[in-house]
Symmetry: C2
Subunit: 160 residues, 2 copies
């Protein structure tokens, strides 16, 4: 879909990891509403988690959806949903390097999951016509964007 | 897909609301991993937002994905992703009753959005073989379940 992005590499299973014959992913369809632009071009460069004082990233919103940005302004905390399009989707048990035994996928925030939807909180630094400049993301450049909503975490509702 | 669920009702547009001719939602496919069981059978009964002291709800996980629950236990705060399968997906401006002028979809947590994925934080009350009993949800009974992950909100990381 994007010639600049390398194809999915099926990572090898680590000790104790379990894959299932996953059902076809066609219960519902997603539309990509834009792309996330970040400084990270390879998986190894991405930070382990987003940092609200980290580098600026850009949420590029496709033209048709831009009117939906009305009311999102600098200073707002948002929840960004994006599609981790290069993760395998069939693991039920995973062996993170930090764990002594395999852990269930639903007990991890790993990108490897039946529906690889990431949910990250980010701070809006600038809102303009074509999208948002934000801090707090940790994904690869070019990642497909799924949604933007006001953050729901109570920690962001009041100044600390 | 589920004979017990009424079909989508296209809600009428309110004053100032704007629909677009949305592109086909086929950039990526979702797999439903189970269903959310709640006490609410009609939209009007659902609370406006989930409450961690609200009624018990059940996350029914399909058999193939159940091993992925290993490591999720009572007392954990989780993020639940589900699919709001009865919301229209083509509005860019919406007129919530509480607003004096139309607001962009990305400035709202309304179910009406290009990809109607809900993200709710919930408290695990019991984990058993077939799923989880939780508090904190606000959706209709039978809503398709997409994902379960550990909550990321800093408010849940330390006792208040």
């Amino acid at each position: 879909m994007n010639a600049n992005r390398p194809a999915l590499v099926e990572t090898e299973l680590r000790c104790g990891e379990t894959a299932v014959e996953a059902p076809l992913a066609c219960d519902a369809g997603l539309v990509f509403i834009g792309r996330v632009r970040t400084p990270w071009l390879e998986r190894g460069q991405c930070p382990r988690r987003g940092d609200l004082e980290g580098p600026l990233c850009r949420l590029e919103v496709d033209e048709i959806w831009r009117p939906a940005l009305r009311g999102v302004s600098a200073g707002a905390m948002i929840q960004v949903l994006y599609w981790m399009d290069r993760a395998r989707r069939d693991l039920v048990l995973q062996s993170p390097r930090s764990a002594s035994a395999p852990v269930g996928t639903f007990a991890l925030r790993s990108p490897v999951r039946p529906n690889p939807i990431a949910v990250s909180d980010a701070l809006v630094v600038e809102a303009n016509e074509s999208g948002l400049l934000v801090r707090g993301l940790d994904c690869l450049d070019g990642t497909p964007l799924l949604d933007i909503k006001p953050a729901s975490c109570p920690a962001w509702r009041e100044p600390s």
